[in-house]
Amino acid sequence: MKLAIASGKGGTGKTTIATNLALSLADTGIHVQLLDCDVEEPNCHIFLKPEIEKTEPVTVAIPQVIEEKCTGCGVCADVCEFKAIAVVKGKVLIFPELCHSCGACMLFCPEGAFREVPREIGILEKGKAGEIDFIHGLLNIGELMSPAVIGAVKKAGGEPDVLIIDSPPGTSCPVIEAVKNADFVLLVTEPTPFGLNDLELAVGMVRELRIPLAVGINRSDVGNDDVKEYCRREGIEIVLEIPDDRRIAEAYSRGEMVVRALPEYGKTFEECWARIVDLHNHATQAGTSVGKTEAEG
């Protein structure tokens, strides 16, 4: 089972839920792997404190001009969707940090005047956090291509009983890279107007990807009931509610795991997992939609 933890809004508690769910499952003897795919600012390691055993570079392929073949015709700049190439005075200028490695310049160059060279944009770190297999990616500062690092983290993942993916926030390319091919998505939100607005966007994205989903509400006893109303209307199950408990914030601020500092929450995460497994099984039997489909809604 591949479970992605995502949210439209940042700061809702994805990492708290991903790490504590991972730990509470590992405590019951399940083989868990946690992939921190928030490669622009990964922070699962702050809480799980893994011992890193292996570090690998992540590279992307970028074009390099073979000067003696290039005629300066400018086709490469014309076909570059990402404006990563300019051709002035017959000279090709490549801007590697803007390149998406799509290969269009190589494909369309009439002279075959490009070769591909690797460029390092980040690293992977693999290790163990107790019984949890841990992998995270780190995008180098100033780099834009986080999906490439996220893809590398996911590729490095194995076949554990449960694979938990901590996604970056939002609904754009990095999130889609993190969430795609997951068996189930848990969308974390908070009961505020911002939380609801961004939850709606995230639900739209996950439905577009045809992955079954459920919602977890953090600080569930603050704000208003609009998120619950929305979930009811949309037929989305709320599988986790974490109250606004000052002791959780204190444990978090010390970099401690909630299920260690406050063991009574272990049950909350176990029950959440049981509901996810149920919903996943149900969705697998019934096709891939959970809640109303767009056609019905």
Binding site: F82, K83, A84, A86, V87, L93, G142, L144
Partner: protein, 121 residues
């Protein structure tokens, strides 16, 4: 000599647009005759990325030999300098006419490196 000026509007009374890559318009002027034409930069105003590079490519393709703007980022600078386009920085709130006059009087600072960091940093 052909000069390009970043502009909010299509005529010489328009205010200069201080950004380069996402400027609304480029005024291309023949400094000898004073004749000019406005070229829309609309496609780059909302570009996801690479606005500076594309705008610089366009300015080069228009045949400009000098650029008057408020700022030039590192990518645009690389394209413009590779093409031999000289870059001059206009300070303060000026119209196109005022900026061109300052340039003609030799009062504008020519830059030899980018004036701002890339916007992705």
């Amino acid at each position: 000599m052909k000069i390009a000026i970043t502009s909010y509007g299509e005529d010489l009374k328009s205010k200069m647009d201080k950004s380069f890559g996402r400027a609304k318009w480029f005024i291309l002027m023949d400094s000898g005759t004073g004749s000019f034409a406005a070229h829309s930069n609309k496609q780059n105003v909302n570009a996801a990325q690479g606005a500076g590079i594309q705008a610089a490519q366009n300015v080069v393709n228009l045949g400009a030999e000098a650029l008057l703007s408020g700022n030039v980022g590192p990518n645009a600078f690389r394209v413009l300098s590779a093409a031999g386009v000289r870059m001059f920085i206009v300070q303060g709130d000026k119209t196109i006419e005022e900026a061109v006059n300052e340039w003609k009087e030799g009062n504008l600072q020519e830059i030899t490196e980018a004036t701002i960091e890339g916007h992705w940093v």
